[in-house]
């Protein structure tokens, strides 16, 4: 568990970071919190010749409000999210989810940008961002572009990021006032990836679901938006039959790997339960 040798760069601006990435090519990797990349380097499964540390770029940090949108700089740590009153007020599900990511030591270093950009299906934030309808800002040699979180993930560790591009911020429309939300994560222990997890953001009107969005973590090679499951509950009072339908619709799109967390059948089964529980809890807190 000893990494190979590499060169270390610490640019002060996004432009400089992009320039380094372009010039150094495939052998260069941007470094955010390092919780995915560094363990891979220690196993020599990743052997970048150059690490471009983004910690020197102050512009990448911070949480702000841009009209109806919440904008979070890529280098904002999970701890920063937990400490933010803005997040607690306008997107409590983000607070709840950040709290389920590993332990305080990890959250002091781990960043939202690293979490969403790495394309690891086990990470919690990608499915949540899809649920919130987030957009990622990517900056590269060709300029700046925005990509919907729902369009970003192509496969395990494969994303829409082009060579030389850095994910610089995420933004999402603040969920409606009075919305209900929940992130249900089944894990074996603190620090583990989800066996299955479901994010729900919904609004209720006259006791019935008015709008609903459901995201799924670690039950497929990419995070999933469970559109059919959400459709199945809209207009219902989340009665047993509708919940069952939603869980079945969500399970139908899951394709988890069998691993030490359990066989495929189990992970799909508990994935459905996570959807059910998240829906029920989200509805119970909606106003």
């Amino acid at each position: 568990m000893i990494p190979g040798s590499f060169n270390y760069h610490r640019p002060a601006s996004v432009a400089d970071a992009v320039k380094l990435l372009v010039n150094l090519g495939e052998d260069a990797r941007p470094l955010a919190g390092g919780h995915s990349l560094v363990p891979m380097m220690k196993l020599r499964l990743a052997t970048p010749a150059h690490l471009i540390d983004l910690h020197g770029i102050t512009a990448l940090k911070g949480i702000s409000r841009d009209g109806g949108n919440v904008v979070i700089g890529a280098m904002t740590t999970q701890h920063d999210l937990l400490a933010s009153e803005e997040i607690a007020r306008s997107a409590p599900i983000l607070h709840e989810t950040a709290l389920l990511i590993a332990d305080p030591q990890v959250r002091y270093r781990g960043t939202i940008g690293g979490n969403v950009a790495n394309g690891d299906p086990g990470n919690d934030m990608p499915a949540l961002m899809m649920t919130l309808g987030a957009t990622y800002r990517l900056e590269g040699p060709g300029g700046v572009r925005d990509v919907a979180a729902a369009d970003f993930y192509q496969g395990a560790y494969f994303t829409a990021l082009e060579p030389g591009e850095i994910l610089t911020s995420v933004s999402f429309p603040a969920p409606a006032t009075g919305h209900g939300c929940a992130y249900e994560k089944l894990k074996r222990k603190v620090g583990d990836y989800a066996t299955a997890a479901a994010a729900v953001v919904l609004t209720m009107a006259s006791g019935k679901v008015a709008t609903c969005s459901i995201g799924l973590t670690n039950v497929h090679e990419t995070p999933l938006l469970a559109t059919d499951a959400a459709k199945a509950v809209i207009g219902t009072s989340l009665d047993a039959a509708s919940l069952k339908k939603a869980a079945a619709a969500a399970s139908a799109i899951m394709a988890p790997a069998a691993d030490a967390r359990g066989p495929v059948e189990y992970r799909k089964h508990v994935g459905g339960i996570m959807v059910t529980r998240a829906l029920q809890r989200a509805a119970s807190v909606a106003k």
């Binding site: 568990m1 190979g4 040798s5 222990k189 620090g191 030490a260 066989p263 508990v270």
Partner: protein, 806 residues
Amino acid sequence: MNDLTPTREQRTAALEGMGCKRKRVEDIRFTQGRGNYVDDVKLPGMLHGDFVRSPHPHARVKKIDDSEALKVPGVLAVITAETLKTVNLAWMPTLAGDVQMVLADGKVLFQNQEVAFVVATDRYEADDGINKVIVEYEALPPLVDPFKAMDADAPVLREDLVGKTIGAHGPRKHNNHIFEWTVGDKEMTDAAFKKADVTIKEMISYHRTHPSPLETCQCVCSFDKIKGELTIYGTFQAPHVIRTVVALIAKIPEHKIHVIAPDIGGGFGNKVGAYPGYICAAVASIVTGKPVKWVEDRIENLTATSFARDYHMTTEVAATKDGKVTGLRVHVLADHGAFDACADPSKWPAGFFNIVTGSYDFPTAHLAVDGVYTNKAPGGVAYRCSFRVTEAAYCIERAMDILAQKLNMDPAELRLKNFIKAEQFPYHSALGWEYDSGDYHTAMRKMMETTGYAALRKEQAEKRAAFKRGETRDIMGLGISFFTEIVGAGPSKNCDILGIAMFDSCEIRMHPTGAGIARVGSKSQGQGHETTWAQIIATEIGIPADNIMVEEGNTDTAPYGLGTYGSRSTPVAGAAIAMAARKIKAKAQMIAAYKLEVHEDDLEFDIDGFRVRGLPEKFMSMKDICWAAYNSVPPGMEPGLEAVSYYDPPNMTYPFGAYLCVMDIDVDTGVYKVRRFYALDDCGTRINPMIIEGQVHGGLTEAFAIAMGQEIRYDEVGNVVTGSFMDFFMPTAVETPHWETDFTVTPSPHHPIGAKGVGESPNVGGVPAFSNAVNDAFSFLGSTHIQMPHDFWRNWKAAKDLGAVA
């Protein structure tokens, strides 16, 4: 007397002796980052070694090409089996009478086996070198399932043993067979089964797992060519044994070998054995003339140094219809991996597994253990366990529950009915042990009363009815464990390691001002010996514990001891300490008699000095006696105040305990909640109740981990798939249940201070309590036995298999 004269209570308290919750003195340095661990040892010119390991579980090694590795800057040497053969060290003896490859010699027999040792000027360069060593393998069919090890067409693993029909422990039935060990009366046991009203039979597996000390195995070896001396700093639970083993295999005179075990960050059995890293670092130091450090990483620790358990126990109990046990028959298939590197006393190929009759009065029993080779890492060690006692306790405690279920009896009632009675001690078990003392009924009843056992059973019955009515998806289980341990290895009549009797030792040297040093043959890895050993001496000789320094781990200064594992330190070293202290006290009494001008027999010991009987004002404190020992001893007596004791225990000690686990399981997800865990331990005399409580907390946490998920697992082609803490369950404070501790005190009649040892009890007793809770929860749905580990998905699968989940 005036107000300033301390009372007897104050004088006793000032000693901080036995029974005192004395704060751990070693924690002052540990909690401030001032410990001195092996990786803190940095010698001038020190090199670093690291291993090339096999990706294959079974393969022929065709060629090792180190030419590119040697070009890596900083890489100085690549050591292979061929190098080791020049010093006759390609293979090493194991503690179990087998031999083990140090580096792959023609073949590899498990994944991550050590193939070559790269030596470089720093750790990074060593790892760079490893990646440049090219090894050519020819894959061979792996043997993973121990139940197929003795099939006629099973692959030949150990080519060195082909044709050898006799092993270290008798005849071998197959080339993958290591030993068969039988104990007990087969005929009488078979007869008991024939006559029995009721019998049960179940294959109870205790899966392969691994100790996980915070600090992995490591060493620094430094060979001085001029003096011909080898100094080894290492994470050794038994430093003197390591010195003797090195002397025997490296042919260096034993007085020229200095083994130093500095502070050790946990052992749990992992650091008893000798590992290839030690040999390679020593040879590398001899070859390069420089000190060489080897530090294992976590993956290496989990996958290559010794595992624990992997016992598959076909268990049968015979009983009368009213629940009196009449016979026990157990067959164990023991998977030892590629080499039998079991860390047991030499004559005990299955350790003390014959404690399997447990706390029950079995009139007859028979045990047979077959050890086999597979393509897995070698072992196994006693993971917080006294030599297979954990397996035995799990086996019998599970079996008693299964029998209770068959008889439709409460498992507590069945146990009470079959316990060895207090008046039966010393008790001779059907499988050959002499239990020293116990009062099982009292402990069991205290557990049942304190936990409200009857009310819990009533609640369970209501919950089960509600579950059947569809009102809840939670099921509730009560897991009882009443274990008897056998610790304190051990008496020379039945215990040795490589021919050395398993005594232990202490040397006490009192200084003129009433302070002193005690050097002991045990070796703390976190148990708190520096604290508790001083407490024993404090009570024995009346000098405050704070004035006694305890030193262990340096073979040049400590008397020869067999080390710390198997809860042997208090039973054996603790006894040696008390005996050495009594020698000090005896000499002190002679000095006091001389100074007080009375006959020795007129003196009585009084907390912290000697007092003349009937003349309470004539008193000499131990502190003053220490001074006198250096200037005015009686004529003819040698000055000084020192003593040594080598203690050969007359018997083992038999701690016991009554545990209860209350668990709720959500059948839909398999997620469990340990609602309550109560642990009553009887470890005889209690030296430091706070340290005992800490030991119990730690052991229960490990037991919880093992029962509920901690597993070393191999896939069907021999890849080890649990190589990191991502998948090897290591609970954090968040997952760990709250522990309630309690105790009774039944002193050991043969131990100088009546102490029995406690370190392993909670692991031994904890695992069956957790597993019985899970099994008890599911039993009303029709199951008799569900194998460990009981992680979420397996609980869900059990529910599904029983028809409780769609």
